[in-house]
């Protein structure tokens, strides 16, 4: 009885949370299937998702597709490279002793506390000096930086890469770089996946930096593109519907990334528990 009620209570809490988190998504999905974004509500009328998606993809000569490609470019590129950099950095901080190690780590930790928003304007002024504002690099380069990833990689490397293993590798004649890529990377894989996912989401959702940096519509990521459309609604009322559908379509890559990577993630979280 008590077990049963406790379980029921737990299920209730979970159910409420699920509804809370999924309702906006559901609303977006339903909104994306309606004609012309007409009418709010949580149920369908005139289901026409296919036609809507086609309309978004072809509007203004298919600029939305361009934005999606840009977003994937910024995101996958920055997340992959940023994860590698953060992983190497965290690994070095965990496994090598050198003067200034803690100082460097503390500076990186400080970096976690500085919100990206606060850096956008200074970065714009910097890139303007270098005549590189309004270019691909103006958004890509700052997106590589991931101090939280460094922190995570250090903690994980400290606990999951045994020093004895590194000693053995050295005795067998493996160089440090080779050891890192053949041995440590595999041991740290779950941390890499986590860092990659966080980084992916952060860059995909990044909005302020592109807003400040970019004026060329062909360089926009999808977030900025949709925002721009949304602000033109009073001149182009049909954009109301297209923004909804576009927002829905732009979720797809994130869902794919999560579904594809969660396998690795789970195995990593489980691995530590047997110890």
């Amino acid at each position: 009885m008590t077990v049963l009620t406790r379980r029921a209570a737990a299920m209730l809490v979970m159910a409420v949370c699920t509804v809370y988190f999924l309702t906006p998504l559901w609303w977006l999905f339903v909104g994306a299937t309606k004609s012309g974004g007409r009418g709010v509500g949580l149920w369908f009328d005139h289901f026409q998702l296919g036609a809507n998606v086609r309309a978004v993809l072809t509007y203004q000569d298919g600029i939305f597709v361009r934005w999606l490609v840009n977003s994937v470019g910024y995101t996958v590129g920055a997340a992959a490279l940023g994860t590698l950099l953060a992983g190497m950095c965290g690994y070095a901080l965990a496994k090598y002793r050198f003067p200034g190690r803690e100082a460097i780590f503390n500076v990186v930790l400080g970096g976690v506390l500085v919100p990206a928003t606060a850096l956008a304007l200074p970065l714009f002024l910097l890139f303007s000096k270098a005549h590189a504002a309004n270019t691909f690099w103006a958004v890509f380069l700052p997106s590589l930086v991931n101090p939280f990833g460094v922190y995570l990689a250090r903690i994980y490397a400290a606990s999951s890469v045994p020093d004895e293993l590194l000693e053995a590798a050295r005795i067998d004649g493996s160089g440090e770089v080779r050891t890192f890529f053949t041995l440590s990377v595999r041991l740290m894989a779950p941390a890499f996946v986590t860092i990659f996912l966080f980084h992916f989401v952060a860059v995909w959702n990044n909005f302020l930096l592109p807003l400040i940096m970019l004026g060329n519509q062909k360089l926009f990521p999808v977030t900025l593109g949709l925002y721009t459309w949304n602000s033109q609604v009073d001149q182009r009322p049909e954009l109301r519907g297209l923004v909804l559908v576009g927002a829905f379509v732009s979720l797809a890559p994130m869902i794919i990334a999560f579904l594809a990577l969660q396998r690795f993630w789970r195995s990593g979280l489980g691995a530590g528990s047997i110890k």
Binding site: R38, G39, V40, Q60, L85, C89, A92, L93, I104, V107, V108, G110, G111, V114, L119, L121, P122, L123, F124, L125, L126, S128, K129, H131, A133, N134, P142, L144, V145, P147, V150, L211, I212, L214, G215, N216, Q217, L224, Y227, T228, N230, S231, Q232, V233, D234, Q235, R236, P237, E238, L239
Partner: protein, 438 residues
């Protein structure tokens, strides 16, 4: 990691760098306006959708003056802030779209090129509706800081069928409008929706009534959001709200569209671009609407308000003001550009010649084939020429609409909201070291 440190250090440097730059004093003389010797490339930032199509026409005909389009969200959505950042960084575009109510903020920050040195521009004065020229010259003789682009003269959209069916006279004065509101309520509708979160509509009402929210005597600004005209307008709408004769759903929402689509709201006193908002928001009511002049405060008057409109400005730092001004004039006076601007974004031209455009002289099916643009053309000539915007409108709007939202939900009044916005505006001007008289 080294990269992270570099970024932290560099950004600290950048922060100090930008705090140490001081703004130079405003120049009193107009910039020189000489043509360049060779081919020129200009950059132009605008959020008009598909502006590229308009610019393409120019680029094809002017190989020596090529214009590159940059775009972004609407002004208050981020593009104005970008302009200020770019002015600071020294890479502002040559030309930019700026709404009339934002021009003064660029003027006080000394971000605009005075085009009075370009004889083409000064000669074009008579091509524009008088009040739009005042918006870009701030009434200063011998100065002009932008070329007017579009305008938002206001009129009364009303449900002709419902007014006739219920035997209600189409109001010509605000008194008649209030009387009609009672009858409409009795017939089961609301005469209109009071725009509680978009204060620009109210500004248009105040403009019509003869308000002077801001004045500038050359050095000092005076803020008067509660002058007699504005107080009268605020009291009028407060009364309708108190008597529940108007609805107050947030504007530009589905709820708002539905109110019109389901015949719950019967009129809308709005700008010329509102014609398109109703047509797309309330498709079920096609053919049932008509447009009449804005109700007047005194019977027999002929005064209109304005809601919206923007200009094309040349930014300080542009190396080619002559060519930039030439393009801006073409964009806003030539019939090919005005036709295309009207087609891609429903812009209603500030140029007098605009009313002769074919698209603006035809009957509109949604309005029962009425030639509605004739009404707006007349209205545009009746807008009071001496209304000036302040240099911190973003803040003024935000504060006033906060108060309006509260007033509509029964806390405080519209007048109280304006009094508060008055105080906070003066505060903001002071904090930005803009001279203000109290």
């Amino acid at each position: 990691m080294r990269r992270s440190i570099a970024v932290v250090l560099l950004s600290t440097l950048a922060l100090t760098a930008c705090s140490s730059t001081d703004s130079s004093g405003a120049e009193k003389t107009a910039a020189s306006c000489a043509p360049a010797s060779g081919p020129v490339t200009l950059t132009f930032t605008s959020w008009v959708p598909d502006i590229q199509k308009v610019v393409d026409i120019w680029n094809k005909a002017n190989p020596a003056i090529q214009v590159t389009v940059q775009t972004g969200p609407n002004g208050n959505g981020g593009t104005y802030q970008n302009f200020f950042n770019q002015l600071k960084a020294g890479n502002a575009p040559d030309l930019g779209q700026i709404e009339y109510d934002a021009l003064p903020s660029f003027r006080v920050q000394d971000g605009l090129t005075d085009l009075a040195g370009c004889s083409d521009v000064t000669a074009a004065k008579d091509q524009f509706v008088d009040w739009t020229w005042n918006q870009v010259s701030f009434g200063e003789q011998g100065h002009v800081y932008a070329v007017p682009q579009d305008a938002g003269p206001m009129a009364l959209f009303y449900r002709k069928d419902l007014f006739e069916k219920n035997n209600i006279k189409v109001p010509t004065t605000w008194q008649e409008y209030a009387d009609a509101a009672v009858k409409v309520k009795a017939a089961g509708g609301y005469i209109t929706n009071f725009s509680n979160s978009d204060i620009n509509q109210f500004a248009g009402f105040a403009w019509q009534a003869g308000a002077h929210w801001f004045t500038n005597d050359g050095t000092n600004w005076t803020v008067d959001l509660t002058d007699p005209a504005t107080t009268k307008v605020a009291g009028y709408w407060q009364d309708l709200i108190d008597k529940k004769l108007v609805s107050a759903v947030p504007p530009w929402t589905d709820e708002w569209n539905n109110a019109y689509n389901e015949s719950k709201a019967w009129t809308w006193v709005s700008a010329v671009w509102g014609a398109n908002s109703i047509a797309t928001g309330a498709p079920k009511t096609s053919g049932k609407w008509a447009v009449a002049p804005m109700p007047q405060w005194n019977a027999g008057d002929q005064v209109a308000g304005n809601w919206g409109g923007s200009s094309t400005a040349v930014f300080k730092g542009s190396k080619h003001p002559y060519e930039a001004a030439k393009f801006a004039l073409w964009l806003n006076t030539s019939s090919e550009a005005l036709t295309e601007l009207n087609k891609v974004a429903n812009l209603y031209p500030a140029a007098k010649s605009g009313s002769a455009l074919p698209a603006l002289s035809e009957g509109v099916a949604f309005y029962g084939d009425q030639k509605i643009y004739d009404v707006f053309s007349t209205a545009s000539g009746q807008v009071k020429p001496d209304f000036t915007w302040g240099p911190t409108m973003t803040q003024t709007y935000a504060d006033a609409s906060d108060g309006f939202k509260a007033a509509v939900s029964g806390q405080g009044t519209l007048l109280k909201a304006l009094q508060d916005a008055q105080a906070s505006t003066i505060q903001t001007l002071k904090s930005q070291s803009i001279p203000v008289k109290e």
